[in-house]
Subunit: 470 residues, 2 copies
């Protein structure tokens, strides 16, 4: 493809994306494809000869697009959002054009230094105290794995990877504490890092689905009495099911008393802390050793862009650092080589899109959008609460409502069957897309409000649709 062809198809594609973002709500939110339907329309073998971009883009519209679930849709209420914006898309385009690998400072000084700058900006926006250092990761799952590995290394004085011949095999049973509502990435990280699934200790939650610090303290005491080795607490600020808030102040005190690593997973909720009224979610954050939240969820920055902050980068660096001859540069002693701050060696220039978003919107506008979404969730929760047909199943501190249809007179088993059927019916209809969870065994529908274009009318439409599908 020469420059003229790139220009032509690039302009066409920009126009297509502009139209798409403007008209996303005309598509069914959830793709109606059946398993295997897309693949069956694609050739089994790669083409020998090149094909025109016109042909490829035509196939995109004809074959691929019907298989897309529309995350940009203003009535996408499923999971947590992965929201987006024009400025972020342009940042991603420019990053792809530059094609920079930001593994070392030298391989693009601007990529490293802009990342340092925007991470410092982000820390300021969410009210993080001085002394944290930020780096962009792909996802919160990866950041949590990094935290667990650093906890493992600090607890064992870096002996697993420095001196001992036995690796983790010499370390005893290292224990991780997290609530029964924590994200599955804690268990996954523990498995990858070799802790063993059974060393993830699930702490009980209170009536608000937040970690119970007394139970945490009790479990640590039992482990110490039993000769096990407490290592890490992973607290959640905004759980995936219901955005419950683990109380960081008492948890931090327990972590400090026992010398445990405190990791805070605020994947969704962290963005809310840019709004002064919601800064309380990070009360006690000064006790954390690490924190992750995802601008790609709720800060208008397209996936992927996960913000990971650590208090003392030396643990990350000592665990992740590699320094083969072919990666040494003259500046190694005076710069950050972010390859040593995470798992992959190669790194995209993600700071660019975050810089575009933070500057193009500005803090004031970003706060307005977050506050709007929270307001819409509270409005929806109010409707549920007032209705005799529906029931709220958890508090609504932020943007996510857990609820179910419950007109009375049905047992739990039947309520689950009927709500599951309602979910499938609503999602198949295509106007809205929502997902489910279980809260202490109870099947719950979830509405998470956070797509960039979601406004009052879309939430009204969701409520009407749910009621009309009964």
């Amino acid at each position: 493809m020469n420059a003229e062809e790139f220009r032509k198809h690039g302009h066409d594609l920009i126009d297509w994306v502009a139209d798409y973002l403007e008209n996303a709500e005309q598509y069914p939110v959830l793709s109606r494809s059946l398993p295997g339907e897309i693949r069956a329309q694609l050739p089994d073998h790669p083409p020998e000869d090149g094909e025109s971009m016109d042909q490829i883009l035509d196939d995109f519209r004809r074959i691929i697009l019907p298989g897309v679930t529309h995350w940009n849709h203003p009535r996408f209420f499923a999971y947590f959002p992965a929201n987006n914006s024009g400025s972020s898309i342009l940042g991603e385009l420019l990053s792809a054009g530059l094609g920079v690998n930001a593994m070392l400072w030298q391989t693009s000084p601007a990529a490293t230094e802009l990342e340092e700058t925007v991470m410092s900006w982000l820390g300021e926006l969410i009210g993080l105290p001085e002394g944290f250092h930020g780096v962009i990761q792909d996802t919160a799952s990866t950041a949590t794995l990094c935290a667990l590995v650093c906890a493992r290394e600090r607890t064992t004085a870096h002996s697993i990877n420095r001196m001992g011949p036995e690796g983790l095999a010499g370390a005893g049973s290292l224990r991780i504490y997290t609530s029964s509502e924590a994200h599955s990435s804690v268990l996954k990280g523990a498995k990858i890092a070799g802790f063993g699934a059974q060393n993830v200790v699930l702490v009980e939650t209170d009536e608000k689905l937040a970690m119970d610090p007394e139970d945490l303290d009790r479990l640590i005491g039992m482990d110490l009495a039993g000769g096990l080795v407490p290592c890490c607490i992973s607290a959640t600020v905004g759980t995936t099911s219901s955005t419950a808030m683990d109380p960081l102040v008492p948890i931090g005190a327990i972590a400090k008393r026992h010398g445990l690593w405190l990791h805070v997973d605020a994947a969704l909720a962290g963005s809310a802390a840019i709004v002064p009224e919601y800064r309380w979610i990070f009360d006690g954050i000064e006790a954390a050793d690490s924190l992750v939240f995802n601008p790609h969820k709720w800060l208008l920055t397209n996936f992927d862009c996960s913000a990971y902050f650590v208090k003392d980068p030396v643990h990350l660096q000592r665990t992740m650092a590699i320094n083969p001859e072919y990666l040494k540069t003259n500046q190694d002693h005076e710069v950050n080589n972010f390859r040593d701050w995470g798992i992959p060696l190669g790194r995209r220039f993600r700071a660019l899109k975050l810089w575009f978003v933070l500057r193009n919107y500005g803090a004031t506008k970003l706060r307005e959008i977050i506050a709007l979404h929270i307001g819409l969730a509270k409005m929806f929760a109010g409707w549920v609460d007032e209705s005799s047909q529906w029931e709220l199943l958890a508090p609504v501190p932020l943007n996510t409502v857990c609820f179910r249809w419950n007109p009375g007179g049905l047992d739990e088993a039947e309520l689950e069957v009927r709500n599951k059927a309602l979910l499938d019916r609503v999602n198949a209809e295509g106007t809205i897309y929502l997902t489910h969870t279980k809260l202490k065994g109870t099947f719950a529908l979830r509405v998470a409000i956070g797509q960039t274009a979601t406004r009052n009318k879309h939430v009204v439409e969701a409520w009407e649709k749910l009621n009309s599908c009964l």
Copy 2:
């Protein structure tokens, strides 16, 4: 940013990228920024109010661009390439616009099924035998970590993460064998996965810098005799320093005899196997349990896009699978949920850009470009070999030449000092960018030829520049 603004700035940016790609060689390849210089030009605090994209793009050109090292430059000969193409950039743009999270089949069926399709195409293009299953990862480092974790789990019958209370602490010393020329990601992965650095056993290399199978066999025998637990062999097809080729046929036989996991790291070289004359690099690949190579290095697909193939996905799935209630879908029993094929939960729609590249270029054209680059490297190696001033330091099977200035009469220490100084002088000058390595202790300059736009004249210019900087 509304649709009209997106359209306007998008068109401007497409034109800028088109101009940039066409004129990349007018920039100094290696950025001339000094440490801290970019950051000092950026505000310490984020803006309260939004700023125009015109202002932001102006700052990009004025502040950021001078800090960019130009990976698209046709005289970028450093590290390994991370090459690029117009069709790939357009694929990335479209992927960012759609904003899809491809974690589950349901969250965009087309993302999963297009990934299955293009990975099957890639396997066919490199001549992979039937029975491998492909998934896109971010980097080879991450893929190698996945391989090591799967090896660990298979060797221990999945006991670390299934039944035992002790995690890896109960497993004994699990041993990983890789050559002394292997990539640093093997050691890094071993550290993350808790093997312990000392359990990475470095196998000797022969005069071609390829793993010596006899030494491998000897080391495994010693470990068995000492009560250690051999677990995994990581063979390299195309080492980072010199693209040396570990012999897969004898290594595969050893892996089979001892029941060890065989991982093949072909991060750069794998792309060469699309050329029939270079398919031999994968002779013996049928013995591998896993293989990684990076289309983002040498197959015109912009970073990141790493192709990971496994023979039996059950090990990956059993280790990585998480299935919390909030991620369950009605199709789980009949589809691939690629969240269970790697570390992150969230996943970008990377298959789109790979599909664009494979179709827009077609296999024939891609083969031509790879063969051209290999031919240019052999041409360069010929010049070195014929000159009394220069010396080849390793065979040149593919696109990378290791060499040094050696007019005779200088000892090793002085040769290192003089070649290091030459490297710094050449890179500061800005016409070309190359990096170095050490081969069995000998300091070597490296020229790796693989940028999309690199042609005969750029390699001629590199040779002239090196000679004029003496």
